[in-house]
């Protein structure tokens, strides 16, 4: 049976190299969306947003924002195609980006 | 307010008087609307006059005031709002030779551009040191565009250089 939860994850780009990163449960930044903390409640989403602003002020990451995401069978993925491409890599170069390492819950960027 | 002026940080001697009654002494900085409304009175006072000029105004409206002005302040409401660069050029082209001051969102990274179009003083915050401003003032020593003041631009410099070489035996 498929289980599906909707919520939000916090993403940003690492300042030094631009790498797309996700805020984890332990308030660190991970390159893997699989590590992202999925926040379901509006209140915890606001807290997540706040953490992003703090992290930006700390100059570790830049451009932090909340992304709609879902957890399907235990794996987190972005719901919108734009964010899915961002978390995986270009659909036209599957040899590039995070998709190479098989992160992203093994979802294709499209579909 | 602190100023960066003549390559160092100094204190501003001007008094911004807003809508207050006019003092009879000092260096008085008024808005453009007050300047145009009270021009006759203001020019009678034994003071130095300065104006805060709005970016939305046309430079020509200051033309008849330029002789009586010792300071024009132009604003940079944001880093990316570049209207004051063109106003500065126009004011210099109109023959204004007094102090031209930049205020607002001013970063050291913009200092050189501002100097090149004719600004000579800069309102600065405590965020940057005198050293930061000095460094910014000299970072790019070359410019393609003719520069306000007497510095040479690249186009002049390269021909002056070629001229000098021509006077020596040809080296190929």
């Amino acid at each position: 049976m498929t289980t599906k939860e909707l919520g939000k994850i916090l993403t940003a780009n690492r300042l030094s190299d631009g790498e797309v990163v996700f805020l984890t449960r332990s308030a660190a930044w991970s390159e893997r969306i699989d590590d992202a903390v999925l926040s379901i409640e509006p209140q915890s989403q606001a807290a997540l947003q706040e953490k992003g602003e703090l992290a930006e002020a700390g100059n570790l990451v830049t451009g932090a924002y909340l992304v709609e995401a879902e957890r399907v069978n235990g794996y987190v993925r972005a719901t919108h195609i734009r964010e899915r491409i961002r978390t995986l890599g270009p659909t036209v170069r599957i040899d590039l980006g995070k998709q190479v390492e098989g992160t992203g819950g093994a979802f294709a960027a499209r579909g | 307010m602190k100023l960066f002026k003549d390559n160092q940080i100094s204190q501003d001697t001007w008094t911004e008087i807003g809508d207050d009654p006019l003092p009879a002494v000092g260096d008085l900085l008024v808005s453009y609307s007050r300047l145009s409304a009270e021009h006759a009175t203001l020019t009678q006072l034994p003071v130095r006059l300065g104006v805060i000029f709005d970016n939305a105004e046309r430079a020509e409206v200051l033309k008849d005031h330029l002789q009586s002005l010792s300071l024009i302040v132009l604003a940079f409401p944001s880093f990316g709002d570049g209207r004051a660069y063109s106003l500065a050029r126009q004011l210099r082209d109109l023959g204004y030779t007094g102090e031209l001051r930049a205020r607002g969102d001013v970063l050291p990274d913009q200092l050189q551009f501002m100097m090149q179009v004719g600004f000579d003083t800069f309102e600065v915050s405590d965020r940057f040191t005198e050293q930061d401003w000095r460094r910014a003032a000299e970072q790019i020593s070359l410019s393609y565009q003719p520069i306000t003041g007497n510095k040479q631009d690249i186009w002049q410099a390269r021909h002056a250089y070629a001229e000098a070489l021509r006077e020596q035996p040809h080296a190929g």
């Binding site: 190299d17 | 209207r83 090149q116 393609y144």
Partner: protein, 551 residues
């Protein structure tokens, strides 16, 4: 081509040092992102969907072999072994690190290149005819003036914080291959009766979300007056262009809102006012720059090569390639070789490091050390002996660079779209790929004739869809990509903006739709009629009927 003297070199070196310090300040936290963003953008560094993206200027699309070799090397050293040639004759790297950018810029400066003003609200890299100096129809090489504009606009103190970006294109030929009517300023060379060179100044054109054809501000401006006149236009724009809404901030909106006549009056008044500072460049400087663009040492050759003819007669693939990709040269015995970066199913404008090296080497051996980048996202070897065409073709074939489709249906212009771009609303590249597979048959394409299909992944129109004979615009409808089709655009001397045909299509339905449009044209054209002239004659209705009523 132009070579830096010690002043140009020092200028670029100082800029690298300045950027290195700015990046360090940002990494240390001494600059906020809001402050740093305009500074990095002025050096062409964007933050895109996956990483930082660096756009490197290729001034007026001209490269030496050494420079192209360096671009290949940079793609290996700092990126992932490829680069993307853009619709503005630049190259983009997609996987750049902020902490390495200054080193990259220093490597560029070492071969007289930079990324200055490839982004931001300033005067962008000046573009021109990719056949400049070689085209059979040109009056004179426009590149000396393009170089003059490059120098004048570099870190221009007055025009680095404009209301919005500003693009200038220059052409020296009657056939407009530089799209001068859809630029913020377009300059078109004319000769007076006495043979004096002057420029028609066109302003207020542009694409983006509000496409407009530029208006002629001056019919004939003597060359010497060019820079002071450009300054007058820029000053009017800098002071009066809208800053309250970034979508209404381009010069085209100013021209449109105050009207062409008022705009012209403003510019002429500003120009007449003159300036203390004389920007008019001396004839000596113009001559100095022009000397770098003197034609190469061409051999005296007949305009017919028996060897070339023989290969064409015996090798069908070669003959097809010559027909599509080789253009006439002004010098007898020479030809212009256009290298397609649009292989069947490929990513338009992408080239691997190895491919760049192959082309650099061909430039060295066969084209007087010169390569061009076209705004169609192709490369050009401008001066190849007709005698050598077969050898060049063989080497290109081995590098997967000999697709015989230049100017034809599968020579598709496409922006990076949602696969790379943070602004995109839909993907462009997959649509280009599926179309190019569908249209791959070269003989059929040659029968269809010249056809420009342009694809943009959002209304900013980097894929120039407004001026495609067939334009495709990717949009987002409730989280799904869909594509709008326009017909009748052109960026040439007959510049026009394409009109939307009807409701949009899902990505997978686009190839069928384009196929239907092409078949409608082929069925209704008269002998020797191009797609655009057929459309002009019969209007859009037959295409609409074919597309929407028979499905």
């Amino acid at each position: 081509m132009y070579r830096y003297d010690e002043f140009d070199q020092q200028f670029v070196d100082q800029r690298v040092t300045q950027f290195r310090e700015q990046a360090d300040r940002r990494l240390r936290g001494d600059l906020t992102e809001d402050e740093f963003k305009p500074l990095r953008l002025m050096n062409g560094l964007y933050l895109q969907l996956h990483a930082y993206m660096l756009r490197v200027a290729i001034p007026y699309g001209t490269l030496s072999s050494r420079q192209l070799d360096r671009l290949a090397e940079i793609s290996e050293k700092y990126d992932r072994n490829y680069g993307h040639f853009t619709t503005r004759q630049n190259i983009q790297y997609n996987w750049i690190k902020l902490e390495e950018t200054a080193d990259l810029l220093a490597d560029l400066a070492d071969v007289e290149m930079h990324a200055i003003q490839t982004s931001g609200n300033c005067i962008r890299n000046v573009t021109t005819d990719h056949w400049a100096g070689a085209a059979a129809d040109e009056l004179a090489d426009p590149r000396p003036v393009a170089e003059l504009i490059r120098q004048w606009s570099s870190l221009h103190p007055e025009f680095s914080f404009l209301p919005r970006k500003f693009k200038i294109a220059v052409t020296g030929a009657p056939a407009d291959r530089a799209a001068v009517k859809v630029h913020d300023i377009g300059l078109r060379m004319h000769l007076s009766e006495s043979g004096e060179r002057g420029w028609e100044v066109i302003a207020g054109g542009g694409q983006g979300r509000t496409p407009m054809i530029g208006v002629t501000v001056r019919e004939f401006l003597p060359e010497k007056e060019l820079l002071p006149y450009l300054e007058a236009i820029m000053r009017v724009y800098n002071l009066h262009g809208r800053r309250d809404n970034k979508y209404k901030a381009r010069i085209k909106i100013l021209v449109h809102e105050i009207g062409a006549d008022t705009f012209r009056d403003e510019v002429e008044a500003e120009y007449a006012r003159g300036s203390e500072i004389d920007i008019a460049v001396s004839q000596r400087e113009l001559d100095r720059i022009a000397a770098y663009f003197a034609p190469p040492q061409f051999e005296e050759l007949p305009n017919w090569s028996p060897r070339n003819e023989e290969h064409k007669a015996t090798n069908k693939e070669f003959a097809k390639w010559v027909r599509s990709n080789v253009a006439p040269h002004k010098q007898d015995g020479y030809a212009i070789v256009n290298i397609s970066l649009k292989p069947e199913g490929g990513i338009p404008g992408d080239a691997t490091a190895d491919q760049m090296r192959t082309v650099a080497d061909l430039g060295r051996r066969f084209s007087f050390d010169e390569i061009r980048v076209s705004h169609h996202q192709n490369l050009v070897l401008p001066h190849v002996r007709q005698e050598d065409l077969f050898d060049v073709w063989q080497i290109l074939s081995a590098a997967d660079l000999a697709t015989a489709n230049v100017g034809l249906a599968s020579d598709i212009i496409a922006c990076p779209g949602l696969d790379y771009c943070a602004l995109a609303t839909a993907r462009s590249i997959p649509v280009a790929q599926s179309l190019s597979r569908r249209l791959a048959d070269v003989e059929r394409q040659q029968d269809i004739g010249p056809l420009r299909i342009n694809i943009s992944g959002c209304i900013n129109a980097c894929g120039h869809h407004h001026v495609g004979h067939i334009g495709i615009l990717g949009l987002d409808k409730k989280g799904e990509e869909f594509y709008q089709i326009t017909l009748g655009g052109s960026s040439s001397e007959d510049a026009s903006i394409g009109k939307i045909l009807g409701p949009g299509f899902a990505g997978e339905d686009v190839p069928d739709a384009i196929e239907t449009i092409i078949n409608t044209y082929v069925g209704l054209r008269q002998p020797d009629e191009t797609f655009l002239s057929t459309l002009k004659r019969i209007g859009a209705q037959p295409f609409k009927e074919a597309l929407y009523e028979t499905v």
